[in-house]
């Protein structure tokens, strides 16, 4: 029953801390109110300028259809290609469309005119997306065959009909919550006790290892769960976005991830001497796991060696699973293998954490 006293102690310390209670309140608000707007890879507001060397009715038609597209911001005409390139160089525009001199003649003759698109591709995604859209508009105007085909194509976007980026990101943000609440906070706490010397006092008491560790983890799990609940409520209130699948599955995925992060934090704090070290090492792994988890970019586009790392990356399983539940409304069966993988990885880490904590060296 020593566990009870230890957990009580942790809660008292958290409450007395000048910083933690505020963090627990402010964090979900920031995550839900600011992050969805920021974590947005949507490509919007691409600025386009046109060099019209033909100056005919048909070419003006093309310009109009660009102007009409709400995807682009039309920034006017440029006299020459050189002038337009200069505009790209000074970042006044992102893309330039050059309509050739014989545009109308070629079109009426049945020949295909060659339209040039020059895009600033420093940001590869932006360049590619802009190019694809602009090409589509041009092709549809220039090539009646393709225009015909395009009119026959219909697209049904499942799960996220309005292609709302926030729907895609909000569930994944829960992964960040777990990471901070269950990974960083217990690590700082334990290294702090090491530096203060109180851990030595605990080590000469008969407290079993697992009790000490559990007492460190349980408060943060509870806090993390609380924060997740607040986040879910906020997401419903602010964006009207709610889970499509059953809510208990969200928690089923969150629990093993919490166990993973806290064990991981413990392992690092067991091997670190100072807070700076612990934070730096933690941060290193966090950044790697986050980037390779598919949270921001599709894992399937990765080269094979990078894709292979996702098999041991618990963040990948969580992000995958939570999106299936939250967005696609998947059931237990759909995420069974993610849950199992998470459980497997986190129990290995938990064992390592308990073994690496030495009461007697």
């Amino acid at each position: 029953m020593t566990l009870k006293y230890l957990i009580q102690k942790e809660f008292l310390q958290i409450r007395r801390n000048a910083f933690l209670p505020r963090l627990i309140v402010i964090f979900p608000i920031i995550v839900m109110c600011v992050m969805p707007w920021v974590v947005n890879m949507e490509v919007k507001n691409i600025v386009v300028e046109v060099v019209d060397n033909d100056r005919s009715t048909l070419s003006r038609q093309l310009v109009h259809s660009i102007e009409a597209s709400n995807y682009f911001i039309f920034n006017g005409l440029q006299p020459t290609y050189q002038a337009a390139l200069k505009e790209i160089e000074t970042s006044k525009t992102d893309m330039v469309l050059v309509i050739p001199q014989n545009y109308t003649r070629d079109l009426t003759n049945g020949a295909q005119p060659q339209v040039l698109i020059a895009a600033n591709a420093v940001n590869g995604t932006k360049g590619a997306m802009g190019n694809a859209y602009l090409s589509q508009i041009v092709t549809a105007t220039v090539n009646p065959d393709i225009a015909a085909l395009q009119s026959r194509v219909s697209t049904l976007f499942l799960y996220n009909k309005h292609l709302n980026y926030k729907v895609f990101m909000i569930p994944a943000l829960l992964a960040m919550v777990m990471m901070l609440m269950c990974g960083f906070l217990p690590t700082l706490n334990i290294v702090g006790e090491k530096e203060a010397g109180t851990i030595e006092q605990i080590n000469v008491t008969p407290v079993p290892k697992w009790a000490f560790i559990l007492a460190k983890l349980i408060p943060y799990w509870l806090i993390a769960l609380f924060v997740i609940v607040v986040c879910l409520i906020l997401s419903w209130l602010i964006y009207g976005i709610t889970s499509q699948g059953p809510l208990w599955l969200v928690f089923l995925l969150a629990m093993p991830l919490a166990l993973f992060w806290s064990s991981f934090g413990l392992i690092i704090s067991n091997y670190s001497d100072t807070m700076q070290q612990a934070i730096f090492v933690m941060w290193f792994f966090v950044v790697m796991m986050l980037l390779l988890s598919g949270l921001f970019t599709p894992t399937r586009s990765m080269p094979d060696w990078a894709y292979a790392t996702t098999y041991v990356n618990p963040m990948h399983y969580f992000v995958d699973g939570i999106r299936t539940v939250f967005i696609r409304g998947g059931g237990l069966q759909a995420i069974a293998h993610q849950v199992l993988a998470l459980l497997g990885i986190s129990s290995v880490m938990a064992c390592w954490a308990i073994l690496s904590y030495k009461k007697n060296s």
Partner: protein, 352 residues
């Protein structure tokens, strides 16, 4: 002068002796560069596609063959009905389905894409690519030219961003922690009471991190150039000069934090909360500033790395002259001067 040098040597020893932190400091840029350079892409690749068709006429066949042949799509299955396809997508066995109507060949019937729309960006790109492939006109009327980054590598975009983040981290976070550590351990009192001028203490603290920052900067540039094939279009001199301004800015931020923070933990949390989070979120490093709501754009206007990253993208990747980044450099310089002045004025030569 002798005091100054021995001070710097002492500071350098602190850095070099902490092997794990050193490992992270140099491991971080290398790993980040590799991840951004090779692992992370938003390219359309290996999209698991289901073909739904009832009649395998010639035209449909041709379209499917073209899809299968492309590197973008992998045909994983054929399903008899759209419902079956949808079920496969829901259970995460496929990403999209292409439904050919039975009379597709007769040019009257159409095509329907059923796409997993969870990731809006990718979903749209998949349909674009698929449409282009199915329409199959080799002679595209469009001649595209991807300026500065013909292969559209994400590394081009991220190398300047990594520089912005790591330089800030090394300079601001490490400097503030190292100053606060001396405060916490009581050695700062001795340093202050010693004949060494307070300004010397600060400079001596900053110099090793300045050097470290340049080493990291050079590592990133070399890796970018020779491992990731990111060309260095602009003038190296200007790249280093602008970086120097930025590094000084980061150092003064670190100094400012060390004035406020009373413990190492506080310095750590402040650098993480006040520096790292806004940098990653609002500097345009990962997420484009122009897609954010107005309010956040305003906030991002006071995040220094935003200007540095922008300036570096222009100088390094686009290879424009210094004239084109004057605005960014001017803002950075103004910020540096202001921060440096504030942090030097606020530096306490006494304990209160």
């Amino acid at each position: 002068m002798k005091q100054f040098i021995s001070f710097i040597i002492k500071e350098a020893r602190h850095i070099v002796r902490d092997k794990r932190t050193m490992l992270i400091l140099f491991g971080m840029p290398i790993v980040l560069m590799l991840i951004f350079g090779f692992a992370i892409t938003t390219d359309v690749r290996n999209v698991r596609t289901i073909v739904v068709t009832s009649s395998l006429d010639h035209l449909t066949h041709q379209a499917v063959d073209r899809l299968a042949a492309s590197e973008y799509f992998t045909i994983t299955a054929t399903a008899p009905t759209p419902q079956d396809a949808e079920r496969l997508i829901r259970s995460q066995k496929a990403d999209q389905a292409i439904v050919f109507s039975p009379d597709f060949a007769s040019r009257r019937g159409g095509i329907q894409f059923i796409v997993d729309g969870a990731d809006p960006n990718m979903a749209q790109q998949w349909t674009n690519y698929a449409t282009a492939i199915i329409s199959g006109s080799d002679a595209s009327p469009v001649n595209s030219k991807m300026l500065y980054n013909p292969q559209m590598k994400s590394a081009y975009n991220f190398v300047p961003a990594i520089m912005g983040m790591l330089l800030m981290l090394v300079c601001a976070m490490m400097t503030s922690i190292s100053i606060v550590r001396e405060k916490e351990k009581g050695t700062m009192e001795v340093l202050l009471v010693s004949p060494v001028k307070p300004l010397m203490i600060i400079i001596a603290k900053a110099v090793p991190y300045l050097v470290l920052a340049f080493v990291i900067l050079t590592t990133i540039l070399l890796m970018g150039r020779y491992v990731l094939d990111v060309p260095l279009q602009g003038s190296i001199v200007w790249i280093y000069l602008v970086s120097t301004i930025y590094i000084v800015l980061a150092l003064s931020l670190g100094l400012l934090i060390s004035n406020i923070a009373t413990s190492q933990l506080m310095a750590l949390l402040m650098s993480a909360m006040v520096l790292l989070v806004p940098i990653v979120m609002l500097s345009g490093m990962l997420f484009p500033v122009e897609s954010m709501p107005r309010v956040l754009q305003w906030i991002s206007a006071i995040v220094p790395p935003r200007y540095y990253i922008e300036a570096m993208r222009k100088l390094m990747i686009m290879g424009v002259g210094i004239g084109e980044v004057l605005r960014e450099v001017a803002i950075l310089t103004a910020m540096t001067v202001a921060l440096l002045a504030v942090s030097l004025l606020k530096f306490k030569t006494r304990l209160e």
